[in-house]
Amino acid sequence: MSDALLVVKDLAATFHTAAGPLPAVGGVSFELEKNETLGIVGESGSGKTVLARTIMGLQPRTNVTITGSVLLNGVQTVGASEDEMRRLWSTEVSMVFQDPMTSLNPVMRIGKQIDETLRVRLGMSREAARARAIELLEMVGIPSPTERYRAYPGQLSGGMRQRVVIATALACTPQLLMADEPTTGLDVTIQAQILNLLDTLKEQLHMSVVLITHDLGVVATRTSRLIVMYAGRIVEIGATHDVFTNYRMPYTRALLESSPKVANPAHTRLIAIPGRPPNLLRLTQGCAFAPRCAYASDRCHQERPELERAAEPGHSFACWNPLEPQGGRP
């Protein structure tokens, strides 16, 4: 508890839409230790991004109600004003966005975008900021950073841009980095590079990382713990190894089965999850996954399961009819 960097308790974000309240995130609780990498996986629309932005205090204040608690290094961010958040942003917590094509200002030189942060937040002089910005560009593996410092985002490739985005996010050495699908907009070969870079930087700068993705391959080797989300709720949480081998929730299994494996013979059909993700406006009393679940019983349709502890320490799942643990070993 004492060395937890991020404590999220019963966090919920409900959007007020014309069609009624939309519970994008509900009842989410977890903790993140220092120097830990936590993965959050789930289908599109399962509330991963909303969760990240809520933790960051980035939700608009007008049409969304946020309840629960987020303690970031002991500071409450739920209900914090923008001024209060500004003290945390960039120095305590920073974020890498999904699409490097839109997360850099197209009319500003990349060096300046890093500079700005350093000068505003750390009060560096023009020269010191420039030197540090070049250092950061070098750190994220941009060749000839002195020249690139003067480039516009449009002159860089997607992978290079994402490196620049990471450099800007890390400018003030935050303790927590939220990476919201940092590789979705990139080629597969570049994806690995960017993820390895994040890994290296995490070790180098002693920070914690929350890695949000829908790609299980991304989180398998790079995270120590894993959260599986469905319809805005945590359905399974535990050490990455436990979730991958001793999954109890049928949804986790379905997710794992639906990712392609190199070992499969050519032309093997992928196992898809039947049905569609639920409409969050019309959630039933029961488990949100029940309509698509092969193991669903009457109870699943009536009553929503809460998180329940599994045999392994720190492993919980929300299911009335859990699967038998596979007993896999590392």
């Binding site: 960051m56 980035l58 608009p60 204040r61 007008t62 923008e82 500004r86 942003w89 960039s90 120095t91 917590v93 920073s94 974020m95 966005f97 999904q98 699409d99 094509m101 839109t102 997360s103 850099l104 200002n105 197209p106 009319v107 500003m108 975008q113 700005e116 942060t117 505003v120 937040r121 000839s144 020249e147 690139r148 003067r150 480039a151 516009y152 449009g154 002159q155 490739s157 997607g158 985005v165 800007t168 996010a169 400018a171 003030c172």
Partner: protein, 288 residues
């Protein structure tokens, strides 16, 4: 110099949209000529635009009167040049008021959103629903004696909702982009985001709209002058010259031709420049 060489070796020039083309520069030159003429009209070797030479009435273009004379024997060339003063002053002045008020409000509303935006936008849309030209005519009909400043003020105020709408929409398209949120997360203050992140991104649209706005206001001034609601005669303006020449069109077609031509060319140039600039500076839509 060495820095320049270094730069070209690694980084190509920023990828811009279409090239500007020679016609663009011809238009710029024509506009510059117009503006210089308007500013230095009283220093240039022009004839007195108010002097009535009764021995030259309704004469066509000649060496002595380059564009001929009107029904009172006044030199048309001189009157066209002096007339540009009113047109350009109204166009630029009104847009300074329109942008000075409308643009900051539009940016702020689009960035802040919420109640501030809702109230302001509703008020602006109420004004927009009311035909501006009718309002301008109504106000100018009763607010006598008419003076240049009053005309600029009335048209300027009437243009605020239009500018507000364009700038607000342009800002809104940018304000939700990830790089604005990224800037916020990096600790940038609202003012910094507005000035350093949003403004450069909407500048191309704003400049184009400014030029087209000036053209619209110049036309509007022409229409008002034609109705006799602009500056009082004998002060020339393109609009009231066309109005005065209307009655003698059959005897002296030159009289209506030259001020109309001056007005048309001025508007064409403004529109063309605005359009070219917009497609040229469309850096945000650079293809990779």
């Amino acid at each position: 110099m060495s820095e320049l060489l270094e730069e070209t070796s690694l980084i190509e020039k920023p990828d811009r949209g279409e090239p500007l083309g020679p016609l663009f520069w011809i238009c710029v030159g024509w506009l510059a000529l117009n503006v210089l003429g308007a500013i230095f009209a009283n220093v240039l070797p022009l004839q007195d635009p108010l002097f009535q030479n009764y021995s030259f009435i309704n004469s066509g273009p000649s060496l002595h009167h380059l564009l001929g004379t009107d029904d009172l024997g006044r030199d048309i060339f001189s009157r066209v040049v002096y007339g540009s003063r009113v047109s350009i002053a109204v166009g630029v002045g009104a847009m300074i008021i329109g942008f000075g008020v409308g643009a900051p409000l539009g940016m702020l509303a689009a960035y802040r959103r919420g109640r501030f935006d809702l109230i302001l936008t509703t008020v602006m849309y109420v004004f927009l629903a009311f035909p501006a030209i009718v309002a301008v005519i109504a106000v100018l009909s009763f607010w006598t004696p008419r003076a240049l400043v009053k005309i600029i003020l009335v048209i300027g105020l009437a243009s605020i909702p239009l500018v507000y709408r364009v700038i607000r929409t342009a800002t809104m398209a940018i304000a939700t982009k990830d790089y604005i949120i990224a800037a916020k997360v990096q600790g940038a203050t609202d003012r910094r985001i507005l000035v350093k992140e949003l403004l450069p991104n909407i500048a191309p649209i704003a400049v184009s709209f400014l030029l087209i706005g000036i053209a619209t206001v110049v036309t509007l001034e022409g229409a008002l002058a034609f109705l006799g609601l602009s500056v009082n005669p004998p002060t020339p303006s393109w609009g009231n010259m066309i109005n005065e020449s209307r009655t003698v069109m059959s005897q002296n077609p030159w009289l209506v031709l030259f001020p109309s031509l001056a007005l048309c060319l001025f508007l064409l140039c403004l529109n063309f420049i605005g359009d070219r600039l917009r497609s040229h500076f469309d850096v945000t839509e650079v293809k990779l």
